[in-house]
């Protein structure tokens, strides 16, 4: 595999994350993710491409909360890819992205079983968007039907649009041209997104100066995720 042209990377600063969940809502809006009913959520079918995992630490009265925004880690050695029998998920070598092709998916759900982060979501029913909700749907993103797996794509539609705009203008992609919905919305600015191959990008700078705090999720599994977390300090509930 050739080296990627753009190595899309996200850096999540856990010190800044307040667990507000704005990124979750933004992702729903941007990617036409259906909102599940309460009943479906109790049946383990909550569908949030990015979710805030909240862990309690310590005992009363010294209880702390840790927030961990988890979305598809866009692994370099994605375990979810080689198990798909129909090539519905495969790797984009030029962008280091884990691609999901909705109309190819036949719904074997093996990718989710092999995904250690459990960030893939299956459409158990046809998504229901009530009347006026359809006005809010993003035309750049397909609405999936029942039987199809979906997951965070790093807002690949925004990546494509930025690339096409850059091509039309005859300029190269600059850092900050591509902003996924979650990054755009995060109030404290905990999420940063960019091209790690670009030495001047924000993410490259962040990783370089904050390398004491950097870690990746479940790194020992060898999945080579593209999302770096910066360790947070204590956050009291």
């Amino acid at each position: 595999m050739a080296l990627p042209v753009h190595k899309w990377t996200m850096v999540i600063d856990l010190d800044k994350c307040t667990g507000c969940g704005a990124c979750v809502v933004a992702c729903h809006a941007e990617n036409n993710v259906p909102v599940q009913t309460e009943r479906e959520i109790t049946r383990l079918r909550a569908m949030h491409w990015i979710r805030i995992e909240r862990y309690w630490m310590g005992a009363y009265p010294d209880v702390q909360a840790r927030f961990l925004p988890v979305q598809c880690q866009q692994c370099g050695n994605a375990p979810c890819e080689p198990v798909c029998p129909v090539y519905a998920t495969n790797h984009s070598p030029t962008e280091n992205l884990n691609l999901q092709t909705y109309n190819r998916c036949v719904g074997t759900r093996y990718c989710q079983n092999n995904d250690p982060y459990k960030v893939r979501f299956f459409n158990f029913f046809d998504p229901a968007f009530e009347d006026s909700f359809t006005n809010q749907l993003n035309p750049d993103v397909t609405v999936r039907t029942a039987g199809v797996m979906e997951k965070c794509t790093f807002c690949v539609q925004r990546i494509r649009r930025a690339e096409e705009d850059a091509l039309a203008q005859g300029a190269a992609l600059k850092d900050g041209d591509v902003i996924p919905a979650c990054v755009q919305t995060c109030p404290p600015g905990a999420l940063a997104f960019g091209d790690l191959n670009d030495p001047n990008s924000q993410v490259a700078a962040l990783l370089k100066e904050q390398d004491q705090r950097t870690f990746r999720l479940l790194e020992n599994l060898g999945t080579d995720p593209a999302i770096y977390y910066l360790k947070g300090g204590p956050s009291h509930a």
Partner: protein, 341 residues
């Protein structure tokens, strides 16, 4: 001198072997003798030569075919459709070995089955000498010879202790129903294969619905919605077009009216009539008839509602988004306002 089959039935191995021995002594060659039994006996038990079948060899050929097919499937897929998955190399060796094994075994066994059928002459379309007692433990010795040797052979059989001797002339009845059935099966399979191939190569196309071509969302080119939801707050004022900055309508100047009149003549008059009352020549063919633009219904609409109707169409009226630029549409709207009675 016609040829015929003689079938001698024996109820024990000894007698059958004895009969064959006597036939040999009479000079009947081994190729003319066929032994029928309900369960397999070793050739040595009956004094018969070994039958060297080619099924084993065919199976080996089948194995080779399997290997080739597996090579085509694995290397073919990886080279034709170079898609990367999971950090694995483009041609992963261990999974390919699995496929090689399975497909080779498939080739071996299937080929041996069909080789068995072909080499044994099965399905046997010609009825051949037989007796149902063979499936009850009797052994049949069948000799093919000419008429005059028949008595001699029958003597040999009787001497060995036969249960019964049957004679059949060599022109066995063709089992028509049997042949028709299997011929039909083969025909159906061939037709099915051909039709399937035509489907695969899109010669026969069936447009069956795919899941995701119909989307609930509106594309950029589809413009703003026509019907606002009941609970929404109506937007008055500037019409908002996706992708373009919010713009004020073109003010109603004599220039605009003049342009509007020209454009109205080109685009609208054929249906709505030159005066806009709905009596255009083309409009007469439509149901319902085109609206009377001078009447209170249309004149009472907000400007941007009219803009949306012109852009997106309304019922039978086609959309004019491609024909008229937004400024031109405003010119037409200004002109239509001027038509008010």
């Amino acid at each position: 001198m016609a040829d015929m089959h003689l079938l001698g039935l024996f109820n024990n191995v000894e007698a059958a072997a004895d009969a064959i021995d006597r036939l040999h002594k009479q000079g009947v060659s081994d190729e003319k003798i066929v032994v029928l039994s309900g369960s397999p006996y070793k050739p040595e038990m009956l004094g018969r030569p070994h039958h060297h079948g080619k099924v084993g060899l065919a199976s080996l050929g089948g194995a080779v075919l399997g290997v080739l097919l597996a090579a085509f499937l694995t290397a073919g897929i990886y080279l034709l459709y170079p898609l990367f998955q999971g950090g694995q190399p483009l041609i992963p060796i261990p999974p390919s070995l699995i496929v090689f094994f399975e497909v080779t075994m498939l080739g071996t066994m299937w080929t041996s089955f069909f080789a068995m059928l072909v080499l044994s002459g099965m399905p046997a379309f010609k009825a051949q000498p037989y007796d149902p007692r063979i499936t009850e433990g009797h052994i049949g010795v069948q000799v093919t010879l000419d008429e005059k040797s028949g008595d001699q052979v029958e003597e040999a059989f009787k001497g060995a202790g036969t249960v019964e001797v049957k004679r059949e002339t060599l022109a066995p009845v063709i089992d028509v129903k049997f042949r028709r059935f299997w011929g039909g099966v083969l025909g159906l399979l061939t037709i099915g294969a051909v039709i399937s191939l035509l489907f695969f190569y899109d010669v026969l196309k069936i447009d069956f619905p795919t899941n995701m071509t119909e989307q609930f969302s509106y594309g950029y080119e589809q413009g703003p919605r026509l019907a606002a939801p009941d609970s929404s707050v109506p937007v008055q004022g500037p019409a908002l077009i996706a992708g373009e900055p919010a713009s004020l309508p073109v003010p109603s100047s004599p220039d605009s009216l003049q342009r509007g009149k020209t454009l109205f003549g080109y685009n609208c008059a054929m249906c709505h009539g030159v005066t806009g009352v709905g009596n255009g020549a083309v409009g007469a063919f439509f149901t319902p008839k085109p609206f009377d633009l001078t009447g209170s219904t249309v004149q009472g609409l907000q400007s941007d509602e009219v803009f949306v109707v012109i852009s997106q169409g309304f019922g039978v009226m086609p959309p004019f988004a491609e024909n008229l630029s937004p400024e031109e549409r405003w010119d037409v709207i200004n002109y239509v306002h001027s038509l008010k009675k």
